[in-house]
């Protein structure tokens, strides 16, 4: 009898002991402190090795806050949005999340996955921040921007020199004829006049910003002219065909640094990549920036862009330290740190701009300086609960128009009818 009672009791005791041990271990590994007692702040970032501002921010912050250890969680840029969405849905406790675009931000924010930063945002000198408004979700802020990218025209100075075009006030028709003029060679030695990345923004966001059209409206007649330019450039052989770029997963930075294209309309983030590639000896292109070509030739430079921000995860392990990092990175000190690596910060004053153009290898000619100070920067995609559904539809139809599967008119009418019928 004794042994029969004894065995289960012993087994239960052993089980309890084991589970306590397991729980103990779990807590030990999950305390959010390093072995030497520093508070760990994990930051979700993309392509850490190729995106120099993350390193600049992390190192700058750690130098000021020796008691905090900032650890990047590196995610492939192309998978970033999906990965972070999945992480958040799974209750991940990474402290700081980089908001790669405003659409995703709106989704995380409205779902209650981020901590409120409204009180902190209200204390900022809003005139000095560009892109802060984009994070206003009905009066609440869940992220603070640290950089503000916008689109300019990158060009290869040696290739464009042959033409006498004035890049400071190009219209889209001027740009198209310049691209055709600069196209040379054939086969593997072909140099395109320009390269259009396969993103829908290249056409659609440009059209929206410069014509005043609304990407969420469901009326897309304002895309037409821009699509005509883009499709015509492909047909003329002055831009790489969409289907080739898509199926071969061509990247804009490779096209530009290997001199396969004379121009490329792209976001200002390309500047930092070109500088970094130069530092690594992978890019010896003599490049410059010009304002994005315009729909109306009235001397105003209208472009689009989107700010990038840091947010604190609602389930962050070390909220206080995480918030400290976010405030530092989005403020003047963070701005100075990233301007030093050629990235355009959200916070700008004269000192920051001076730092930016003082970077070794940064083109400091008058045209590049003009490109960096556009008159208007519109938001690439307006924030609304409908944004991501509309984005999906516009992307799908963009693919069909650019690959020649649908005519421009058919594509636009399909976008309109789908947005009206599918988005609630």
């Amino acid at each position: 009898m004794k042994s029969l009672v004894g065995r289960p009791v012993r087994m239960v005791t052993a089980a309890v002991a084991l589970s306590l041990l397991a729980v103990g271990c779990g807590n030990g590994g999950d305390s959010g402190k390093t072995a030497d007692g520093k508070t760990i702040v994990k930051v979700a970032v993309w392509d850490y090795a190729k995106t120099p501002e993350f390193k600049a921010l992390i190192e700058g912050f750690e130098a000021k806050n020796p008691d905090i250890d900032v650890q990047p969680v590196d995610i492939l840029a192309a998978d970033y949005s999906k990965k972070v969405t999945t992480m958040l849905a799974g209750g991940d406790n990474t402290d700081v999340l980089t908001m790669k675009n405003v659409t995703d931000y709106a989704r995380y924010g409205t779902r209650g996955q981020l901590q409120s930063l409204t009180a902190d945002a209200d204390k900022l000198d809003k005139a000095k921040y560009s892109g802060l408004d984009s994070f206003d979700l009905k009066g609440d802020y869940y992220a603070l921007p640290y950089r503000q990218d916008f689109w300019v025209l990158f060009y290869n100075k040696d290739l464009v020199k042959k033409s006498d075009a004035d890049l400071s006030k190009l219209t889209w028709p001027d740009y198209a004829s310049l691209a055709k003029e600069l196209t040379t060679g054939s086969g593997s030695s072909k140099v395109y006049g320009t390269y259009h990345q396969t993103w829908r923004s290249v056409v659609q966001a440009t059209a929206a910003a410069q014509t005043g059209g609304d990407l969420l409206s469901g009326d897309y007649g304002f895309f037409k002219k821009q699509y005509e330019t883009a499709v015509d450039l492909q047909k003329a052989g002055a831009a790489m065909p969409f289907s080739t770029a898509k199926s071969q997963q061509v990247t804009y930075d490779a096209m530009f640094t290997t001199r396969k294209t004379a121009m490329v309309p792209m976001g200002t983030w390309l500047a930092a990549r070109l500088l970094q590639a130069k530092a690594e000896g992978k890019n010896d292109v003599n490049w410059g920036m010009a304002p994005l070509p315009q729909t109306t030739a009235n001397g105003k430079a209208v472009t689009f862009g989107s700010p990038t921000a840091f947010a604190v995860n609602k389930k962050a392990r070390n909220s206080a330290a995480a918030k400290k990092f976010v405030l530092w990175a989005s403020g003047p000190e963070g701005a100075a740190a990233i301007a030093k690596v050629g990235v355009v910060p959200s916070y700008t004053d004269d000192a920051v701009l001076k730092t930016f153009f003082g970077v070794k290898g940064m083109p400091a000619d008058a045209l590049s300086k003009k490109a960096m100070t556009p008159d208007t920067v519109k938001l690439e995609m307006p924030v609304s609960p409908k944004s991501s559904d509309i984005d999906q539809i516009l992307t799908e139809e963009h693919e069909l128009v650019m690959s020649g599967e649908k005519s421009i008119d058919k594509g636009i009418s399909e976008m309109e009818s789908r947005v009206k019928s599918e988005v609630e």
Binding site: Q248, Q392, E396, E422
Partner: protein
């Protein structure tokens, strides 16, 4: 006294046997319950809610199903999935049976060929998709270069063409899966008694007749198993499409599993995506039950 003692001992022994039994299946059962059974059960309930993974779910009855019925994306995905299955199932069966028959002969190096044809199945799916994407590249890809060399002036655009993207995915998936089903068919072929072939030969049946009247009927159980497995896997297809085309160009290769992923994981509409999952489950269930019915009838 002794009688009661005996009964108690028996009871104890029974309980002990049951416990031992449970302990054997427990490791598997815990995993299955936690990772499959509970989520599947949850899906069943979530399909009738508006859950977004964060807020409290609300019971919304059949709203999700109504929305699905009205939504063009669902019908596009359903029709694409059906087309994929209609291509993938017969082609994979034919290819794997053909390979199995070829490799069931006494050839020199037959083990090498069997291994070679099985290889695609154990290759990383992402690698398969990336390499086939290159092969199908419209301008520089070897597939179209070959087609041009044999005189096709305008070869298809494959993954960049709405009409050819789905066939491209089907071809890739057949290539990938045929090795696995070939192994199943090989096992089936080796179980056919040699006497049957001898008898057929004595009766004057040629190779073609022997194949149709001996091999094919004898393989019926294998064929049925292969058919059911292929049907289920075709309707569940996700990974290959996601890596090769991401549902594009446009929506030409959007399949149901992808729509479930997009609505659930990307858009956070877990209620709606659960409803689509439920419909997908019912479709597969109905088809499989029908297949079993037919199988039983033809066995009679």
């Amino acid at each position: 006294m002794t009688k009661i003692d005996g009964a108690a001992a028996l009871k104890r022994r029974r309980r002990r046997t049951a416990l031992v039994g449970w302990s054997f299946i427990l490791p598997n059962l815990v995993g299955f319950a936690a990772l499959t059974l509970v989520p599947v059960g949850a899906t069943l309930l979530l399909a009738f809610t508006d859950w977004n993974s964060y807020d409290t779910p609300h019971w919304i009855g059949f709203d999700n199903f109504q929305r699905m019925w009205d939504n063009d994306n669902f019908w596009t995905a359903l029709s694409n999935t059906a087309w994929y299955a209609a291509g993938h199932i017969p082609l994979t069966m034919a290819a794997s049976l053909g390979l199995a028959v070829l490799l069931n002969q006494k050839l020199r190096g037959v083990a090498f060929f069997r291994t070679a044809f099985f290889f695609p199945y154990i290759t990383s799916l992402v690698a398969v998709a990336v390499v086939w994407n290159m092969l199908f590249s419209p301008d520089a890809g070897p597939v179209n270069q070959l087609l041009r060399a044999v005189g096709v002036a305008h070869p298809p655009g494959w993954t960049t063409d709405t009409d050819w993207a789905l066939p491209a995915v089907v071809i890739t998936s057949v290539w990938r899966d045929m090795g696995y089903y070939m192994v199943l068919y090989l096992a089936g072929l080796q179980a056919i008694p040699a006497e049957l072939y001898e008898a057929a030969r004595v009766d004057g049946a040629g190779p073609w007749k022997r194949f149709w009247h001996v091999t094919v009927p004898s393989l019926r159980p294998t064929t049925f198993f292969v058919l059911v497995m292929l049907t289920v896997s075709s309707f569940k297809v996700f990974d290959l499409v996601q890596v090769m085309t991401e549902g594009g160009p446009g929506r030409s290769t959007l399949v149901l599993s992808q729509l479930i992923f997009r609505e659930g994981i990307t858009q956070g509409r877990f209620g709606y995506s659960s409803a689509i999952s439920l419909v997908l489950f019912l479709i597969v269930l109905i088809i499989t039950v029908t297949q079993f019915r037919f199988q039983r009838r033809s066995e009679r």
